[in-house]
């Protein structure tokens, strides 16, 4: 099978996070895209369908050479605002990519959900950033109710649902309530990501936890998740890299786990996915190392993913531990904190994560 290696083991995934449009029905208070440097170009120079096909071809071929299964996450703005999105999904799926959509709830209808299911979409991710009042404060009125409506339709259609929560002080008290709501709604996976104070979110510096508050919060969420896991089947993601120091302190990651991975080669071996198995592309073809870390490393389809990802000096720097302010940390090789938060707060992506207590 194309998705397996020579020993029959399933190949790992390599993800293209593809912002196929910057157009959006919302102006969220924490949006990293709107007010960004690239936004005007993303609106003006949205890639044509023909260029998008070239990008799919290159990505699928490159990941095949590297020995990965290709996963394409179509995101925006709201990807459903692209009139040719279904064509693009169809093209990507038929080329062998696993297809995921991350979008707003507004254009999810029984018809659009059925269409996405038929075309091979395996997961649809929406955002819920708090219970109704808090969520609608961040996004727009009635957005919360619409997200719940969309989840119910997607579940009924048979597309797995995922919910992402953008964490700040403003909504932190709601996180476990939203997690439980997701469990009750039958959401497949729930996770959260820290607010990155860039774009619209640059005005929200005061909403970031201190290191001590971050630890206290994660411990509370860990215990909350453990309780929910006993009653529900929803999975809880561990995208947040600062789980590592907490798990280490709780004995859930042991020294032998780290020693078995780190071969003293100065290379990162886990944690943040920058430079490992993930690449974001903006609506105008600009390639970043992380969508929330505004450093361009190339442009597609003019250049190939292979050349950009492997030859980029910045990508190489970010794969080497000695460049990081936390390089002496026991956990650096499997964590790195969040370089996007470091960059947003200190202007240096290699600085120690300002919210890490370890």
């Amino acid at each position: 099978m194309a998705g397996n290696d020579s020993s029959g083991k399933q190949k790992p995934l390599f993800t293209l996070q593809w912002h196929v449009t910057a157009r959006c029905d919302q102006r969220c208070k924490h949006c990293y895209m709107h007010k960004s440097e690239t936004y005007p170009s993303e609106i003006k120079n949205e890639l044509s369908y023909e260029d998008c096909k070239k990008i799919v071809d290159d990505f699928v071929k490159t990941t095949s050479i590297w020995g990965f299964r290709p996963r394409i996450s179509f995101i925006g703005g709201d990807p459903l605002l692209r009139k040719d999105l279904y064509q693009l999904i169809d093209y990507a799926y038929k080329k062998g990519a696993q297809v995921v959509v991350l979008g707003n709830p507004y254009h999810v209808t029984e018809e659009s959900a059925r269409k996405m299911k038929e075309l091979g979409v395996c997961r649809y991710q929406v955002s819920i950033d708090g219970m109704e009042e808090t969520h609608d404060y961040f996004r727009k009125p009635v957005s919360f109710k619409d997200s719940v409506r969309a989840i119910k339709i997607l579940n009924k259609t048979g597309i797995r649902t995922a919910v992402m929560f953008t964490l700040s002080k403003k909504n932190s008290d709601d996180l476990l309530k939203v997690a439980e709501l997701c469990c009750k709604l039958g959401v497949y996976e729930f996770d959260f990501a820290r607010l990155i104070p860039i774009g619209n979110g640059a005005d929200m510096m005061d909403e970031l936890f201190s290191p001590a508050e971050m630890r206290e919060f994660l411990l509370k969420v860990h215990n909350g998740y453990e309780s929910l896991k006993k009653r529900y089947t929803t999975k809880f993601g561990t995208k947040e890299n600062l789980w590592k120091p907490l798990y280490y302190e709780l004995g859930l990651i042991k020294d032998k786990d780290i020693d078995s991975l780190d071969d003293n080669s100065d290379m990162v071996v886990g944690g943040c996915s920058i430079g490992i198995n993930y690449i974001p592309v903006l609506a105008d073809g600009t390639v970043y190392l992380c969508r929330r870390l505004p450093i361009s490393i190339g442009k597609v389809p003019e250049n190939s993913f292979r050349t950009i990802f492997i030859n980029s000096k910045k990508a190489d720097e970010m794969r080497h531990l000695h460049n990081y302010g936390c390089s002496k940390c026991r956990l650096c090789a499997v964590c790195r904190g969040c370089p996007a938060i470091s960059k947003a707060i200190t202007s240096n992506e290699f600085a120690r994560d300002p919210q890490c207590w370890f």
Binding site: P12, T15, I65, I75, E189, D191, E240, G270, T307, I310
Partner: protein
């Protein structure tokens, strides 16, 4: 295009990168992803929930 590249290759020019097999540098970059080690330390790189 492929024929053109093959002809150039036969004339002694190096194949463009996209027609070469995986390089030692690429093997090194991806080694931990491929052997499943990342799963052991619960990584962002395996979650697939972006945004």
């Amino acid at each position: 295009m492929i024929e053109y590249i093959q002809e150039k290759y036969l004339q002694g020019e190096q194949k463009p990168l996209m027609y070469q097999p995986i390089t030692p540098k690429e093997e090194q970059v991806f080694r931990y992803v491929k052997n499943g080690s990342l799963d052991k330390v619960m990584s962002c790189a395996v979650c697939g929930m972006c945004g």
